[in-house]
Amino acid sequence: MSSSDLALSVRGAGKAYTIVHNATDHVTMAEVVLERLKHPLRRADREKFWAVRNIEFDLHHGEVLGLVGRNGAGKSTLLKLLGRITAPTEGEIKLWGRVGSLLEVGTGFHPELTGRENVFLNGSILGMTTKEIRAQFDAIVDFAGVAKFLDTPVKRYSSGMYVRLAFAVAAHLETEILLVDEVLSVGDADFQKKCLGKMRDVATTGRTVILVSHQMDNVRALCDRVLLLDHGGVEFIGNVREGVNRYLERPTIQTTAADPALRPGSGEMRITNAWVDCDNSAAEEPKVIRFTIERRSELAERCFIAVTINDSEGRAIAHCDSNMVGAWFTPGDGSVDGEFKLTSPWLQPGDYSVDLFLCNAGVLDAFERALSFTVRPGYPYRGGASDALVQRDLVVPDFDVRAIPGSIARASSEIVMRAPDSPEAS
């Protein structure tokens, strides 16, 4: 193929961050100067940490690339390089078209401005021209469903309306290349489905898309190729099936994302501790997860926790948002502990991973693949289970079947002869 088909070409790109050891983080100049005076000869031990390195790949127009990898593998850094938010330390990236990113929804939204003003401001921040925003304006407002409140400052919006409007603007970006991070579509449970639907639309309309996802069924459904990142390098690039399999083969527990500061999300609150109390439990036993939420900024007062349980195929089998059951967390000035308990349905024997998200209007902390647990083989049925049959199901139903006491009646030929939908049947 000629180079004019290319949408994007990455050659040996790398990004290094400098980690300073033996020196505390000096934020003010006075501290830096003082440190210099005290130790005129000492140089802080600087170490280069390569978040990504030697990244090479091409992307053709209309291709949808799934970017997968564990937390800390370098996905966010690579997206930041492609989105030009931060400059590479080495290598070269060529783009044949504008890049739009669905990385953070609602960037630049200002509470004092009206919905209309925010649509125009946010649209131009995301890289749309005024003409494009005008052309899309009605579609954006329709999608968000806030037509009545267009001239109201968004500080008077409910958090749901706010997120809807913010996502609507981003979803109508018409840049040639689009970067999508699925994690950040979480937040408003009702709206999530609509967002995912829109992402599917975008991915299937012939746009060039880079989709970061942990949902392997989405990757399988939407992507033409998969790029698997590991430790900041390209581990695999190629067909979707092999890429997904390689990703799933890797152990799901990792330590890098255990550092809350490195995780995606706005960071006003973080999950500082989480553990499973149900490892190696039987299918019918409750699945209990405990966690600690710490408040790190005064900007957020409360949040809900979204717990997603994924099976070993990477399929999300249960989305449990605590706001659905009315549970919100208010850590005050410190932290608060919480417990999540899943009693039904029962889970199939096998390995599971758990994603934890803290949300209010947006995503405060995205702790993907936070935990994992195993459900012991065996089924809780008194009568024994036909494994071959039950194994194929997604979950294990907690069900009972019995005869209704006192309903035993003598069969008569008259009854047997009746049509089953006869209105006289009792």
């Binding site: 000629s2 180079s3 004019s4 070409s9 961050y17 934020v27 003010t28 100049m29 006075a30 830096v32 930041k80 390089l81 989105g83 030009r84 938010i85 931060t86 400059a87 590479p88 330390t89 080495e90 290598g91 070269e92 990236i93 060529k94 783009l95 044949w96 078209g97 504008r98 890049v99 990113s101 990385l103 953070e104 960037t107 630049g108 200002h110 004092e112 401005l113 003003e117 125009f120 401001l121 131009s124 921040i125 995301l126 890289g127 021209t129 005024t130």
Partner: protein, 282 residues
């Protein structure tokens, strides 16, 4: 540079590790002019929404400032205005130019920290943020100029054709303000101290700039300090344009022009140099 046939196969953007000292790409700034307009409009809207007196503040600020200067230099220090120009009018003219410089500097210096979320999440030429504060400053300036025209008419002051050069001096004030503001903004990303140092500098500067006095009646011991300040020549030139006072000595004037352009260039260079780390450090 390149023919239109090779334009198709040429990448629209090439991202490489930044090397040059001046990575500001004029074409890119132009591509993002829509965003610049939006940011400027936001700045203006937010400034006067939910203020009771709204635009009146814009008029009151320089009037009160000029009143204070008149009191200090006219009544307390007993200075006289030059060429029969009342010291209040002279102070007001100086304050008009000075305020534009001062507000532009302080607004643009806070523009990066005030928009840190945008910097971390989206790409756009970062220089747009300090530049976007220019519009709201110009609106303030416009209002202030209207009041000044009123004063000139009332006191029957006519400087002659030199008045057409007034916008040039104001533009130079804007350049020095933007230069200083951009430099402070980019440095405050790493060192928040700048937020505290700059207001102190801005408080001190009017005392070594002939705002409430003229170069001619500056105290002799401190004259060198006043002359070393590149804004001295600009202030004198501005008053020459609108009040018909004496044109500054040629040496002082040339030094002012060079100094102003120097501060502006330095500001942009420092900003561009630090710009590449903004998203990582802020």
């Amino acid at each position: 540079m390149s023919s239109s046939t090779s334009e198709l196969s040429r990448a629209r953007y090439v991202i490489r590790p930044p090397k040059s000292w001046l990575p500001q790409n004029p074409r890119e700034l132009w591509d993002f002019r829509g965003l610049l307009a939006r940011l400027a409009a936001r700045d203006l809207t937010l400034r006067y929404r939910q203020t009771f007196l709204g635009m009146i503040w814009v008029v009151l600020q320089p009037l009160l400032g000029a009143g204070a200067l008149t009191f200090v230099f006219g009544s307390v220090a007993g200075l006289k205005g030059p060429h029969g120009v009342p010291i209040f009018v002279m102070s007001f003219a100086s304050m008009t130019a000075w305020n534009m410089f001062g507000t532009l500097t302080s607004r643009s210096s806070g523009s990066l920290l005030g928009n840190s979320a945008m910097i971390q999440k989206v790409f756009f030429p970062r220089l747009l943020l300090p530049l976007s504060t220019l519009l709201s400053t110009l609106v303030d300036l416009g209002v202030s100029l209207l009041v000044m025209v009123g004063l000139l008419v009332y006191y029957r002051i006519w400087a002659g054709p030199a008045i057409i050069l007034a916008p040039v001096w104001l533009a130079l004030f804007a350049l020095i303000g933007l230069g200083l503001g951009s430099m402070a903004a980019s440095m405050s990303v790493r060192y928040r101290d700048i937020q505290y140092i700059l207001p102190m500098v801005m408080q001190f500067l009017p005392f070594v700039s002939p705002v409430g006095f003229t170069l001619a009646n500056a105290p002799h011991g401190l004259r060198w300090l006043v002359v070393a300040n590149p804004m001295t020549g600009l202030l004198e030139a501005f008053r020459w344009s609108v009040l018909g006072t004496a044109f500054p000595p040629m040496g002082v004037f040339v030094y002012s022009i060079i100094g102003t352009l120097g501060v502006f260039t330095l500001g942009i260079v420092v900003f561009s140099r630090l710009e590449r780390q903004f998203a990582d450090v802020i």
